[in-house]
Symmetry: C2
Subunit: 143 residues, 2 copies
DNA sequence: TTAATACATTTGTTTAAACAAAAGTTGTAA
DNA sequence: TTACAACTTTTGTTTAAACAAATGTATTAA
């Protein structure tokens, strides 16, 4: 009985914290004109260090599982932040690569995003952050 | 240096956990044809135990801060789950009240949602859930 | 080779969210 | 009273997300 309330409050807390964090980061990104999802894709691509990613790979690592990543990539292409080409080995697949301009945009955002992340977590000590990360990873990973 | 990575991973974890929880609950709600936001509003109204809420009150307590709650309420009215009337004391305000049908829908969902919440938190012990709730509340409340 | 199936991405359409502005109501000061 | 500002909700418009179906490519088995 008690545990049911606990679970409910915990899940509502997770939902609220997610929305809150989205709002924080979204506000920071707004001046750059890119959405949180777009930013996330750019960071995924930067992490590949020059190795192109196909759409599936990007989708798997995205924070928001959306049905329609094609049009998200389209937006990034319009802004010249990524390029897309057909994979030579398997023409069903595409290869997505971050451009120099994309890397620049990310580099300029890094400091701001770090500040935002610090602001979100400001009420927590480093030890508490570690605990939080660990607990969240338990419910997020490998499922 | 280390703490920057910690903050980044923690925030990304919060975002992912939020999306994951949304997906879980959203799937559970799908068969009832109501969205997570709509469900949340219904629960807010049920919690008022017959006392009507105006739009502001609902907005403040909503998980997702959206720009336009009017149309969300419209959807619930279409489904006869809530009613809306103009507040007599202050005609700028409206009064929103959950209907009997709305209460029935919620009651039927309660068990399913409890199962879903348990599934989301399944990798955590009760003690861990308490810790998680506490840490999340620190970054969510009063700001 | 051909047909059938699975795979990877794209496109069309409907639905909801984001943003900005408007409308109606109340309170206040001259 | 009247004009003005503040408050609360609604509406119009643009933009993105959700869902379903289609397109094009590769693989497999007959």
């Amino acid at each position: 009985m008690e545990s049911i309330e606990l679970a409910k409050n915990t899940v509502v807390g997770i939902l609220k914290a997610g929305c809150r964090a989205e709002a924080f980061v979204g506000t920071t990104l707004k001046s750059s004109g890119i959405s949180l999802q777009q930013f996330n894709v750019l960071r995924i691509l930067r992490g590949r260090k020059g190795v192109p990613a196909n759409l599936q790979t990007v989708q798997k690592r995205m924070i928001h599982k959306m049905s329609n990543t094609t049009r998200l990539i389209d937006k990034l292409i319009e802004k010249k932040l990524v390029v897309r080409k057909i994979c030579k080995d398997n023409r069903r697949k595409i290869e997505i690569l971050i451009t120099d301009k994309g890397l620049e945009v990310l580099d300029q955002l890094d400091a701001k995003i770090q500040e935002t992340e610090a602001a979100i977590l400001q009420p927590l000590s480093l030890e508490e952050q570690k605990t939080l990360r660990s607990l969240i990873n338990k419910i997020t990973l490998n499922r």
